[in-house]
Symmetry: C2
Amino acid sequence: MTSKNFHWTQQAFEHNARAGILHTAHGSVPTPTFMPVGTVGTVKAMTMDAVRSTGAGIVLGNTYHLMLRPGAELVHELGGLHRFMDWSGPILTDSGGFQVMSLGALRKLDEEGVAFRSHIDGSAHKLTPESSTDIQYLLDATITMCFDECPALPASYKTIANSMRMSMRWAERSKKRFKLRPGYAQFGIVQGGIEPDLRAESAETLTKIGFEGYAIGGLAVGEPQEQMFETLNFTVPFLPAEQPRYLMGVGTPQDMLGAIQRGIDMFDCVIPTRAGRTGRAYTGRGTLNIKNACHIHDQRPIDPECDCPACKKHSRAYIHHLFRTKEILGAILLTWHNLAYYQRLMRIIRQAILDQNLKEKATELQSNWKRKDWTMDEWN
Amino acid sequence: MTSKNFHWTQQAFEHNARAGILHTAHGSVPTPTFMPVGTVGTVKAMTMDAVRSTGAGIVLGNTYHLMLRPGAELVHELGGLHRFMDWSGPILTDSGGFQVMSLGALRKLDEEGVAFRSHIDGSAHKLTPESSTDIQYLLDATITMCFDECPALPASYKTIANSMRMSMRWAERSKKRFKLRPGYAQFGIVQGGIEPDLRAESAETLTKIGFEGYAIGGLAVGEPQEQMFETLNFTVPFLPAEQPRYLMGVGTPQDMLGAIQRGIDMFDCVIPTRAGRTGRAYTGRGTLNIKNACHIHDQRPIDPECDCPACKKHSRAYIHHLFRTKEILGAILLTWHNLAYYQRLMRIIRQAILDQNLKEKATELQSNWKRKDWTMDEWN
């Protein structure tokens, strides 16, 4: 049963791409949308006012990180994650599954769930479909994710199949545990690697269980982009058209554009924030590394089409200097810029869908990304 | 000769304390004023919009740091420090003297100036009264400081006297080199340790040379607060009443209150920014260390009287969590808070001088600082 209040409405579509609005207990968000990652209750190097200023409408929190520090009970006691981190809009929390899997030797998996040791202090913890759902309830997540296993690729068909089927049993347990409240939602996660029949089976199983939205997991784990796109091609048709679709952990601007063209509505990724802390800027002309010596004297903004504070107020030379001197403001400004670019890209693509010219816009975006930086002629 | 445009006007006084306005080429600043330190062209962990939001009217830049990275010529080429760092208000730059002195074995001092090696890459540099003045010109400092020597205390009378007299010869050379422009200023720096006759001699020498303002240097280098206050008691009377007075490198709220009561108008110090990065918060009830475990569950803001984003939007528990997880936002929020507290303190003291009740206000401030934190009763 779908909540009366949480729903996604479609405004326009072009081939498989969709523009719509996600309605939640914590406000509405135009889609396609990119969710900045607020790992441990903060989008790294940003105030939430800064995140808001980029146009972000929904952010992500990590169950694994938050259960360890400060702990879900404490966040609950302090009024939930929205209040804790100063974000009144919707928050999606992951289930902890993906991050627990990457602990390697520190974790032990069985049908019940995953026992693991904290990467911080070695303390013992367990995550199950039930406890992950409970933790997300305590965090007051607007969108709760099912607890799933995300096997590393490449893996044998049998490994992928067994893992996916366990994730489906876990999805059923997650659903059973979830307390549906008006405006809140729970998303199932399609697994199955790059195997068409397994993805189809997973999507059909989840749809039968019934969720308020569907995520595609197990991608962006190192496979080539074409493989990811191909997997979307044969997976998305099995998902209900009237509900939101979320591609987890993706990605680059190119990844997101291609995924939107294949029917995806929601994304999250650490790329813009992580790149912002390490000196890589995303622009309408591809990426640039602000630490390169070519920027020492460059009076131009990072991106002339951007209205973030880094581009409106500062030169590349200044931001280069901040990185060279390891000043925190460098990370702040470049993270801000990258998040602003990601949100602008979502607005551009969304508008193109509304205007029914996504195909032309996509060609233009891709060709500009390939052109690399603005020439001095273009600049003047 | 004093510039026609750069001047300080007194609005009120109470005993030795003064309230006034500093008029500069880059705008006017109410005094007493605290100048946040923007070492290398950034107030650490802050955007300049954030600095502005605290009410800061003037900031400081460090000649030593900026000459090494990115270099004064580059800042000049990029339009000066105001544009480089996005601060259209007045900027005071120090002369590099104090920082070069603290290089110890890396520097060699003679009558000409100081030869030193960069703490970053060991490269050889020289600072003289002339080159320091030139660098500050290239940076486009609103207020240029004379190049001086600041001997470490304690030192013999003879060492202090010799050093002070060389600083006075350097002040004359600095003045000769300075290009006076409308609204710009050059400040002399009184030296002489804690020796009344040397401080008097220094102040009189500088006054004869003639500057747009006068700084008191060589204090806040480890001496007890009473000694600093005593030195102000016998030094300030030798400074012209109609010009601004700046106590360099000071200090704590208690230091500044006492110095204002002794006739000081301007301060700079790394305390609020450095403390903000290490977890110490300044409040109307003294300091608190947000990293202490007592804040884990504390839903209260750091300071209920503060309207900075850290206090308006977040609990102590949240900021404690940010420090525990080493998140950049912890440093951002606490630096913001500390700068907001310093500026609020300046406004409170200034208003008290205008209202002719500084004595009562000072007693109240001091007694509140000693009370330590708000009790839960007071809170409710």
